[in-house]
């Protein structure tokens, strides 16, 4: 979906509050592209997954971009003919929220994608694994720690990547968030880019208000 520029209307006599580039709608997985370090790109990763018999894991710490990478790979997986069935596990969910006996999950053209694999308890993992082996169904997961599945990709965040992300989100408008701010956010939150972006959200809100008060 391509959205043409939305101009926030004037509030308070001609002044236009700037849109916060760090709002969830711009930052959530799927809204932002995943930034690969060349030569890796999404076609290459999907090809690698194919070599691994469509079984693999995306590993990385909290907020380092695993769900974003997943969102990036899904269209490519569809393009090469795999049918994707995705589940996202939230806090406290220890079991798969579906019955694996579902016919739709039992063919070799399907990949089951589990976002938050580390939440599953041992029994559920075994059941899932057995199921996938039996029907030759693919299995792609994201996890905070290494799993028995082969590692497809390791997500990691460094200061340079944060700066690139911020530049992308702000479209070059760095009036309110400078490179120093990004560096500070990265130092504070480390690998957790999501938290860093949230703190930059607060900073952006504070800054434009300060600017407006001064005028």
């Amino acid at each position: 979906m391509k959205v043409t520029a939305v101009q926030p209307p004037a509030i308070r006599g001609g002044f236009c509050p700037p849109q916060n580039p760090f709002a969830t709608r711009f930052v959530r997985p799927g809204a932002m592209p995943f930034l690969f370090s060349p030569p890796i790109d999404r076609e290459a990763l999907v090809a690698k997954l194919a070599e691994l018999q469509w079984r693999g894991a995306i590993v990385g710490p909290h907020g380092s971009g695993k769900s974003t990478l997943l969102a990036e790979l899904l269209p490519e997986l569809n393009r090469v003919g795999r049918r994707v069935v995705q589940f996202t596990l939230h806090d406290g969910e220890r079991r798969l929220p579906i019955a694996l006996s579902d016919r739709a999950l039992s063919d070799a053209q399907t990949i089951i994608v589990v976002d938050g694999y580390e939440q599953l308890n041992a029994a559920s993992r075994r059941t899932l694994d057995r199921h996938c082996r039996r029907y030759a169904t693919g299995l792609l997961v994201t996890s905070h720690e290494p799993t028995h599945l082969a590692q497809l990709y390791q997500t990691a965040v460094d200061c340079e990547l944060m700066e690139t992300i911020v530049d992308l989100l702000t479209r070059g408008d760095r009036r309110f968030v400078s490179a120093t701010d990004v560096e500070r956010a990265y130092c504070l939150h480390g690998q957790n880019a999501r938290e860093a972006l949230f703190s930059l959200y607060d900073l952006h809100e504070r800054r434009w208000r300060e600017l407006h008060e001064r005028l």
Binding site: T24, K66, D91
Partner: protein, 435 residues
Amino acid sequence: MARSFRMYGKKRGHRRTGSSALGSLGEAAVFAFFLALGTVFLVLLLKMPVLPEWRANHEFVETTGAVLGKRVMPSLDGTSYRAEVLVRYTVGDRQYDRWTYDVTFNSPWAYSSNHDLRQDEVDRFQEARPCPVWYDPEDPATAVVVRGYSAWLWSLLLLPVSFIVIGGAGLVYAVLGWGKSPEHLAAVTQLGRRLELFEESTPLARDYPNVPRDANLTNSPGTRLKYRLPITTTQGWKLVAAALVALGWNAIAVFFLVKSLSTSGDSALRAFDWRLLLFTLPFLLIGLAMIYFLVRQFLIATGLGPTHLEISDHPLLPGRFYDLFVSQAGRLMMNFLEIDLVCEEQATYRQGTDTRTEQRRVYATRVFDRRKFDIPQGMPFEQQCRIEIPPGAMHSFQADHNEVQWKFVVRGEVTGWPKYERVFPIIVFPKPQAR
């Protein structure tokens, strides 16, 4: 007058019609259950051995008897033993021959699996020799040759007592919070007012999408001003959980205490049980401290009394003035009582495995402030003041993941007690437009 008590917080906010946190039949039932359990246990303990022991030590009459025999009698299933001594004694002109030992003789407490202990006990008596006998003056056929206090049985009393204290205090707290609304409702007998309240809520909800409904807030008329505002606190579940923890803790501590004391009669094992006793003591002290703090919390609530807020109109509109009436009951010496009008944004975000809620306060004004004053018993503190909803106020907003909430936050501190906070949600509507 059913109210729902939530043990958890809902994203859409808490709407309560009660005037205190534990105003629910369910909670009262839980505390009543503990109270009943404790009472039953206490009664059983009093029946045997507590009261009989006390009677044996204070009321039984001493005489001299002769030991005719002694034995260690196994129980019916052979796993435990009882000390038995056959004595002959005379009361008035009647002679009694009785197998007995102490007051617990005819109860299960007389049995012990420790055969040697029982043997030692009967060995203290020598046949054909005189020995002191104490008989019950009301029933001379009942007599003992040993009397004293079994420390461990008395220590068991701690358990039912703590159950009763917690159950009773909780029940009192629940009941105290109960009675207010119906009295207030009964006080307002104007039927016309009732109809007005009923009609108000429905059209507004339709015309103002995503502005929370005010049905709960306007069904309680005030005594001075039009409406009494309901309170929202979620402290209730914390207290219930703490009470359960305290009960469980005490049960375990008392169990160990009992274990450590029950073998204290035997000199050979004395070294072991002192160690266990010392080990148990800190846990017991912690348990007692838990009870103390819990009771203190309940006393704060009951001694404090409910805080009532009444408002001259509802829902509220930006740029308008309203009267606010506050009444605080209790027998208290207040360090301060403050009321703030607050607006908070709340955003909930769920992605990946994270769920988080962020809150930001975007408006806060102190509308009432009083320092260092006394509230005498029976005469609640009452004060009326004028408040303004700022002209540029955003209206109350409620959606699945985002909210704008307006509320009164009452904060007070009683001398010697911790600070308390009570929250009263209100609804601000958008300014009505001239069409």
